[in-house]
């Protein structure tokens, strides 16, 4: 694929919280259709990197480009750019006062200015895609965690995003619900959606990732295809992390 298919480019990104350096000089490119899995110990800056990509955190230094558009610095187009990036959070962050259907249609209607019937048709399509169309009239509190996370994925998909960001989407779920969410994500990966996924699910990384990125202390330590990363990790710290995670 050519450089014109570059979806995300992160240049020398640094993010400080006070004196703490959460992300320390990260460079990263993600091409169209790629699935990137980011792993690393707690506090290594994975979430912060992800949140800088759609500017939920303002970078201290460096640049973020989304499809040839620079989003750091000038922020005039920010809302428009964000509406093309779907984000799925660890704690779902569904809107509890709205029904499932309203959760999925709201942004379409007020950001993309679609009509109610258009937005609902799109919403139902994506709810079916994640296998939860029968809950369209329910409220988030009436759903299980796995169901809520699938709604959150449908909500992001309904934005017709060019990129999907996932921040530990299964970490808050009971074990028996993890699979239903991973299955949906795996299907999306196979459909060719560009995805950046922070996760501890090594099975998912092996099955879906084009590349695995290992972060530690705000830096990218290793970047490799899954076969290489899991079988012959090049770095001492990657090896230590893997042995720790796999021994569980």
């Amino acid at each position: 694929m050519s450089a014109t298919h570059e979806m995300i480019r992160v240049i020398n990104l640094r993010k400080k919280f006070g004196r703490l350096v959460a992300v320390d000089g990260v460079n990263l490119t993600v091409r169209k259709g790629q699935v990137i899995v980011i792993i690393g110990p707690s506090g290594s800056g994975k979430s912060t990197l992800l949140r800088c990509i759609n500017h939920l955190e303002v970078p201290t230094e460096g640049e973020i480009w989304i499809e040839q558009q620079k989003i750091t610095g000038s922020q005039r187009q920010l809302n428009a750019i964000r509406s093309q990036i779907g984000m799925v959070f660890q704690h779902f962050n569904l809107y509890p006062h709205l029904t499932v259907l309203e959760n999925v249609t709201l942004a379409q209607r007020i950001v993309r200015k679609l009509s109610k019937s258009q937005a609902e048709a799109i919403a139902m399509h994506h709810l079916e895609r994640v296998g939860i169309a029968d809950k369209a009239r329910s409220y988030p509190a009436q759903l299980s965690g796995g169901q809520q996370q699938r709604v959150a994925i449908a909500r992001a998909l309904a934005q017709d995003p060019k990129i999907m960001l996932f921040d530990e989407p299964t970490s808050a779920l009971d074990p028996e619900m993890i699979k239903e969410v991973l299955d949906v994500m795996l299907a999306l990966a196979n459909e060719g959606i560009t995805m950046v996924v922070v996760t501890h699910e090594m099975g998912f990384a092996r099955a879906a990732a084009d590349e695995v990125i290992f972060m530690d202390r705000g830096k990218i330590v290793e970047r490799a295809i899954p076969e290489v990363f899991f079988n012959q990790p090049a770095h001492e710290r990657s090896r230590a992390f893997l042995s720790q995670i796999l021994s569980h």
Binding site: F89, N93, H97, A107
Partner: protein, 295 residues
Amino acid sequence: MAVKETIEAKGQIASPPLTGTELREKIRNFPWWIVGLVGFFVLTAHLVLTRASYQEAFSFIRAGVGVTIQTTLIAYGFALILGLLTGLGRISNNVIIQNVGTLYVELIRGIPMLVLIFFIAFVGVPAGVGLLNRIGEWFSQLGLLFIAQPLLRLENSAVPMTTRAIIALSVTYGAFQAEIFRAGIQSIGRGQMEAARAQGMSYWQAMRFIILPQAIRNVLPALGNDFVSMLKDSSLVSVLAVRDITQIAKLYAGRSFQYQEAYVTLAALYLMMTVVLSAFVKWLERRVRQDERNA
């Protein structure tokens, strides 16, 4: 409320004869205070119906109910708007707006309400009118007469006491409600704003569609309490000679020397209004919560 429900629930189950402890429990849980309240109303009604002096006091003072309710409703409406705007201002990222909001809230909280009412009526309003006159002059220099003229025509002495009273109550309660709204907004998890912004909503869209609907639902009880408090505090505007029920009762007592009749009637009227209002507020809350549950 909860007490009543448990009693009802027990009443349905307890068909077998009650044991001694059950009976004692039932007596303990019974809301006797309601009996006392009803007793007070019955007693007052009895006095009003049977004694000419009470009857006279009642029909005289009753005339102020309209002013009291009107003052409260209008001032409450303005206080809600002022409170919401100030509450939003206090959590704003704009340092100036945030500080102005905080200053306003702290000023109001540090001054007794009675003093505030005098201050706003006799210092605040004249200053405000003076400012509007200035703005009028400025507009007339710009040649915008249609804006300038109504502003220039404003006169401090022409502002009625009722208006001053409403402004004073609004400004005072606006500060209280700012705190309620601020706390309500801050009680909504950060993730909600983030999810909304991540979807491309603007800050204000996220506020309007995501944060405020949840925040307001959470603070409804507090807002309801304030409504009842304001009804009571509206009695303070009698110091501005606004003819609310307190003022009328005072006038009546001073003229007829029937202090007991005047103030028993006055207290009963307030109590009646607040009891009805509280019940309405509770009903509203329960409905909202029910919506949530059915939801």
